[in-house]
């Protein structure tokens, strides 16, 4: 079987396409975390006092958690301890005065986003996607604000929302993910720099896809963004986030928090294509992606749907979850997570059923190649009041080669006997015989693998907005390149 092994072993390095660094003057505060740093961030953003006080509470809690050694290590991922004093908590391109139009954005930044395939210029209107671009710690541009404002949709950088819509921020911030939630969420609450804010008013169907593009540029910086999306009664929004970072030898921390709130009859569709730098083929460098994402279906008949395609990061640790409070509310989680080389992903979801007749669907597809480790961790909790709750979970793993691993930890906690639960799980390996069969029909090894992987993920790609589905498919092919000889 030596040749078989060779085929699957011979990993050729595939350059990370988004690994360039933008040479732009940046203002970066010295590494280190202290109360002064938290105050500095808050004052740079000219925040109202409630925001500063909230940050300080979080900061004090974080100090306590650190003193008590509460950094979580239960995820199935191995990494060197993180030195939180070695990270810089704020970095922004210099000269970011209030911009009245995109023409005023530094051309180098526009060029960065163009290189990444995201045109911030107005021709993007054709595709009907409004973009908020976050560069390290600040939002550099938001497109189509005016068009959205006409229908009352607020889509702006988080820092702007804090100033212009403090009542909404104060009401909802931390209402789904409190600053006490977990170690990384606490850190984020203290030092978060920017992110996107979305408010969809009652009865409005957001006329275009909203999208935030996160880019880490500066070295030794962490990115701690915060996203808050509120869908008021009877409204609908589809939101997409994409992420990339330059190639660097050291690991960079990304600890974001996303909160979604859906009121009565509202629906939020949240899609992620995550392609942070995964490290090189020997596992050097890459992003630590420790993210807390949670949605609250607060109203009756509300719906929150998470779709994620995770191909990047050295370590991914995220569990986009739904709290199904409103009666008849629906939570969905559709995920493709791919790990190649030495990447580690520990991802999944939590569905907490509180309301009557609440329903949740979980479809998770994990692909492991190279020495990648892929873990699904999911929890479905049916609380006593959730009469008539239903859950369907499907958890499939695909192994490419024999050096990688797939692990599944489903946790089901049912406290109401009327609940209906279904769980299915499969593990398959792309066999040498399958690849040979395809090659005998004229396909190259890579065509064969990508055909099989695409077939495996098709159900999830269907859930993505059209243009992103194509993007996701390409990304997957790129991430798999070189995973088989």
């Amino acid at each position: 079987m030596t040749s078989d092994r060779q085929t699957i072993d011979s990993i050729t390095s595939q350059e990370y396409k988004y690994g360039f660094v933008t040479d732009i003057e940046q203002e970066t505060i010295p590494p280190g975390l202290s109360e002064a740093v938290v105050r500095l961030i808050s004052s740079k953003k000219e925040e109202p006092d409630f925001m500063l006080q909230w940050r300080l509470k979080a900061y004090r809690r974080f100090v306590q958690l650190q003193a008590d050694n509460k950094e979580p290590h239960w995820a199935k991922a191995e990494y060197e301890p993180i030195d939180y004093q070695a990270i810089s908590y704020y970095s922004a391109p210099k000269d970011t005065p209030e911009l009245s139009s995109l023409d005023e954005v530094d051309p180098k930044l526009l060029e960065t986003y163009t290189k990444l395939g995201i045109s911030l210029l107005e021709q993007k209107r054709l595709t009907g996607v409004a973009v908020d671009a976050v560069f390290d710690s600040v939002s550099v541009a938001t497109t189509f604000k005016d068009a959205l404002a006409e229908v009352g949709v607020i889509f702006c950088p988080f820092s702007e929302a804090v100033q212009k819509h403090p009542e909404l921020v104060e009401k909802y911030l931390g209402s789904v993910v409190p600053y006490t939630d977990n170690f990384f969420a606490t850190l984020n609450s203290a030092v978060f720099s920017d992110g996107s804010f979305v408010y969809i008013p009652k009865g409005v169907r957001c006329p275009m896809e909203l999208s935030t593009y996160f880019r880490m540029n500066a070295a030794k910086t962490g990115q701690f963004e915060r996203t808050l999306i509120i869908a008021d009664q009877g409204s609908y929004v589809s939101y997409l986030e994409g992420c990339t970072a330059p190639m660097r030898d050291e690991n960079q921390l990304h600890a974001a928090v996303v909160e979604l709130i859906a009121l009565d009859d509202a629906e939020i569709k949240y899609s992620t294509v995550q392609n942070w730098y995964p490290g090189d083929k020997n596992g050097v460098g890459g992003i630590y992606n420790f993210v807390t994402k949670r949605g609250a279906c607060r109203g009756v008949n509300s719906k929150i749907s998470w779709t994620q395609v995770e191909t990047g990061s050295a370590i991914t640790w995220k569990y986009p979850s739904c709290i199904l409070q409103g009666d008849n509310s629906i939570g969905e989680f559709y995920s493709v997570a791919l790990t190649n080389n030495y990447q580690q992903a520990d991802t999944g979801t939590k569905m907490i059923h509180l309301g009557k007749n609440t329903r949740s669907t979980i479809i998770s597809k994990g692909i492991s190649a190279g020495h990648g480790q892929n873990t699904y961790r999911g929890q479905v909790k049916i609380m006593p009041g959730a009469t008539g709750a239903r859950n369907y979970s499907q958890c499939d793993s695909l192994l490419v080669g024999d050096q990688c691993g797939a692990h599944t930890f489903p946790d089901i906690d049912v406290r109401n006997s009327s609940a209906r639960m279904e769980h299915e799980a499969t593990t398959t390996r792309i066999g040498e015989d399958q690849i040979f069969y395809c090659r005998q029909r004229g396909l190259s090894t890579e065509e064969a693998v990508s055909m099989i992987v695409n077939g495996f993920c098709r159900d999830i790609f269907r859930k993505l907005p059209m243009e992103f589905a194509v993007e996701a498919q390409k990304l997957l092919e790129l991430s798999l390149e070189g995973s088989v000889g």
Binding site: D4, Y437, R441, I452
Partner: protein, 278 residues
């Protein structure tokens, strides 16, 4: 586009002196054990050769080596395909150049619909021939036409490759692929095994209609029955990794009668005869 047009043979083999396939003293080992011990076989354009022999004699090994399966090591010998060094080509290049293997055990590929594989395979083959990819309408017309030839229902197109197919359905699916890819050399490894009588006739007819003066076949079988429908030009018997006898169609009858034992110098072997069935 006219389906007939697709039947044009694009083989380079215009020169009558160049053989379709020439195997010279081929030795093959797997995990250090020699399985093929000096095979010599020459197949001319348009010829149909039958390869028979007891279980474990090396028939599938030969078929897989010709297709480029790299778990087998060629330790000596040479194979020419239309005069070119076959062993130097990757499996996919062999396929694109028109070498087709109908697998004894077709492989299941979950999640990939039959029609996707067919389309990818046909486009790879067409590209090699310098032809453009067929558009969806022409492709579907072609596939429907071929489905009819093997009397398969269209629903098979939208099922994952070989998943849940019965034994006979898998074999018919192999023939469907062959009819669509239009190889110049088709190696059929026990395509008749597991077929019911009607299906056997359908497959045999598919092969007969597919025969042209340019297209060659190497048909591996245990049964005279298929050869009753599909007349071979030559019949070879392989035993313990060597071709021990070559003859005309009548040899297949003789084997049916007498088994393989007499070819190895002894009496017809009853156990082998039982194994190869009626």
């Amino acid at each position: 586009m006219n389906i007939r047009e697709l039947n044009n043979n694009h083989s380079l083999n215009q020169d009558k002196n160049i053989r379709m396939l020439e195997i010279k003293d081929l030795h093959v080992s797997v995990e250090g054990q020699e399985i093929l011990k000096g095979i010599n076989l020459s197949v001319g354009a348009g010829e149909l050769h039958a390869l028979m022999g007891p279980n474990g004699s090396g028939k599938s090994t030969l078929a897989q080596v010709l297709a480029g399966r790299d778990i087998y090591q060629v330790t000596a010998g040479e194979v020419l395909f239309e005069g070119r060094d076959l062993l130097a080509l990757t499996p996919e290049v062999r396929a694109r150049k028109g070498l087709f293997l109908s697998f004894q055990y077709p492989v299941v590929i979950s999640g990939v619909n039959n029609i996707y594989l067919l389309q990818a395979a046909l486009n790879a083959r067409r590209k090699e021939r310098g032809e453009e990819a067929l558009d969806a309408v022409d492709f579907l017309a072609l596939v429907r036409n071929r489905l009819q030839a093997v009397q398969m229902d269209e629903s098979f197109l939208y099922r994952p490759v070989n998943e849940g197919f019965s034994g006979g359905e898998k074999k018919r699916n192999e023939i469907l692929q062959m009819l669509i890819l239009e190889p110049i050399l088709a190696i059929l490894d026990e395509t008749d095994s597991g077929l019911d009588i009607d299906a056997l006739k359908i497959v045999a007819e598919g092969i007969n209609n597919f025969r042209t003066p340019q297209r060659s076949f190497l048909v591996i079988t245990h049964y005279q029955r298929l050869l009753g429908y599909v007349e071979p030009d030559w019949v070879h018997v392989i035993s313990e990794g060597r071709i021990v006898k070559t003859g005309g169609p009548e040899l297949a009858h003789e084997l049916e009668e007498r088994g393989y034992g007499w070819l190895q110098g002894g009496q017809p072997d009853v156990t082998i005869k039982a194994a190869i069935g009626p």
